[in-house]
Symmetry: C3
Subunit: 236 residues, 3 copies
């Protein structure tokens, strides 16, 4: 939550972390986009997640599903599949998670890190689009975004990103932030990932390790301007 909130603030977005089911109905109309992240899942949070997703879908507002660790346990897979059926605008996951969510395999995940290459999940991502009607984002060394027809490929990013926690969660949050200004979910997703990746590339030039990458990434996110974006974004 810390990295996600700081990432959004660095970009100029305005995050709020809401857990209580009592707040969802009133809060949804105030939010411009939602991320449901099942990272540190517990059963008492599931009703809030479902209610929030439902509220956003009803209001016609964008929401992003981050099915962290889906495939690792039956409970997590059940919750993630349920949420997948609730009309997310975008699903953002790593390759193992996309494969698991698309039912290609029950991945015996020993961690929330991906055991697969993002490229290997493109076909599964397309199947997941058919099922969910969401744009699907597969992040990895290279990121892919697909609406079932088109597949965009984002080559921004840096290997050191895998040594910093919560950057996957942060990318989901950035996708949500971009959806508030770019209604095309394919474009919004690709831009969000490219911006995060570009900030990481710039941060990695000066970083001495994962500790400095993290704060430099926030500094870079806040400093990105049109010229940097124009020259640096690698979306194909």
């Amino acid at each position: 939550m810390d990295m996600v909130a700081n990432g959004l603030l660095a970009l100029g977005a305005s995050p709020a972390m809401v857990h209580a089911v009592e707040e969802v109905e009133e809060f949804a109309p105030l939010a411009r986009a939602l991320v449901v992240n099942i990272g540190t899942l517990s059963s008492d949070r599931v009703p809030s997640m479902r209610k929030a997703a439902e509220a956003m879908a009803t209001l016609g507002k964008p929401w992003v599903l981050d099915p962290v660790g889906v495939g690792g346990t039956t409970f997590r897979t059940t919750v993630a599949r349920d949420l997948t059926a609730m009309k997310p605008t975008v699903i953002r996951a790593n390759a193992s998670e996309v494969l698991a969510l698309a039912g290609a395999t029950r991945v015996p995940a020993s961690s929330v890190d991906s055991a697969h290459d993002s490229h290997d999940a493109i076909e599964a991502a397309k199947r997941l689009v058919c099922e969910s009607h969401a744009v699907v984002v597969v992040t990895g060394a290279v990121d892919y975004v697909t609406d079932g027809q088109e597949v965009l490929c984002i080559r921004n990013g840096h290997p050191l990103m895998t040594r910093v926690t919560a950057l996957g969660c942060t990318s989901s949050a950035l996708v949500a932030a971009f959806l508030t200004v770019e209604p095309n979910a394919l474009a919004a997703s690709a831009q969000a990932l490219a911006v995060l990746g570009l900030a990481a590339e710039r941060a990695a030039v000066k970083a001495e390790g994962p500790g400095s990458l993290r704060w430099r990434l926030l500094d870079e996110l806040a400093q990105l301007d049109e010229t940097m974006l124009h020259e640096g974004l690698a979306i194909q």
Copy 2:
């Protein structure tokens, strides 16, 4: 919690984060001050919050209420109003929160960030003092502290602080820490805010963005000495 704990440790204070209602009664006598922060509120935490506030009030020890996001939802407003009635020593909030808590307006908050200028909440802050008998702190570009009679104005701080999460929470925690050594709640609050603001000013000179501001702020908090305070604090 991470930034708050690190902020307190940087200052030389000794934080403990306690959630379990089973622990409150025994823990309260060991604590020298308490912050109740309703940031990521959930109904199962409310009994602990109430019990802790009650215990501190009974023991005659200071406690600070941080009514994060009050006015945003009915649930949050109800909890915050309840806690306001439980004799907090200090209430620390942004302008929108003070306005909402003083009943001036139901602020349709789309986030936990303030939609109002701190100056616009001074009258509401005074009304809130009458109701709660607490010293009320309104933080913003300029911070105000009032006991209903006097209004102190703190001009320390830096705009980049709005791009780092949890600095509001940290300021509440610093007020609590200062209350353990300065019994005058008006003075303690003003000094705590000025110290945090001064550390941020000093950090901002070298910071390249919100990522570096955050860790530099912790470094500066740990380094402040009497001369720096003497020269830097801007309390009127």
Copy 3:
């Protein structure tokens, strides 16, 4: 959780934070080691903790108990004692916590920071080994590790570490990570603590305060190589 996850990632380990009791049974076979940390304890988390400890013990896999704040409240002490009886491979605690857990004293802890010197807890640590059959680690200015017979003494570390939150938790996590590659729990514990301490020493040379120590520590953890370890580790 943030510092712990980043510390493990910096080292090249692969952390997952699991809370839901529904996930424990399936997740345990996938994990190579477990830490049960009672830091921000709440009663609804206790069943997951117990079940996870049990599962690891049954599977013959290593798990580390971090009894944060034991002795502070009856609830916390009860939970910690219960877990101590569940065959942890290693118990990692500060001096006050070891004394409390060994029943030497009910420490009226006003915080999660130790009020005792690590050396004063060596005898209590040995008694705790007898009771629990775990290797016991007492961290402090000097760290001690004992299996009841031998006592290793680790002189790596830096005073500034006390001003950064979650480094105790991080040391427990590092012990768990080392247990996945070094089956001798005495050796694994000593090495993990020495590595963390050495990284902190190296970080402290360049750090300007607790804020910079924290990220520099992560950078150093990721950079440590065999020569540095050979020259820097101070285990006796």
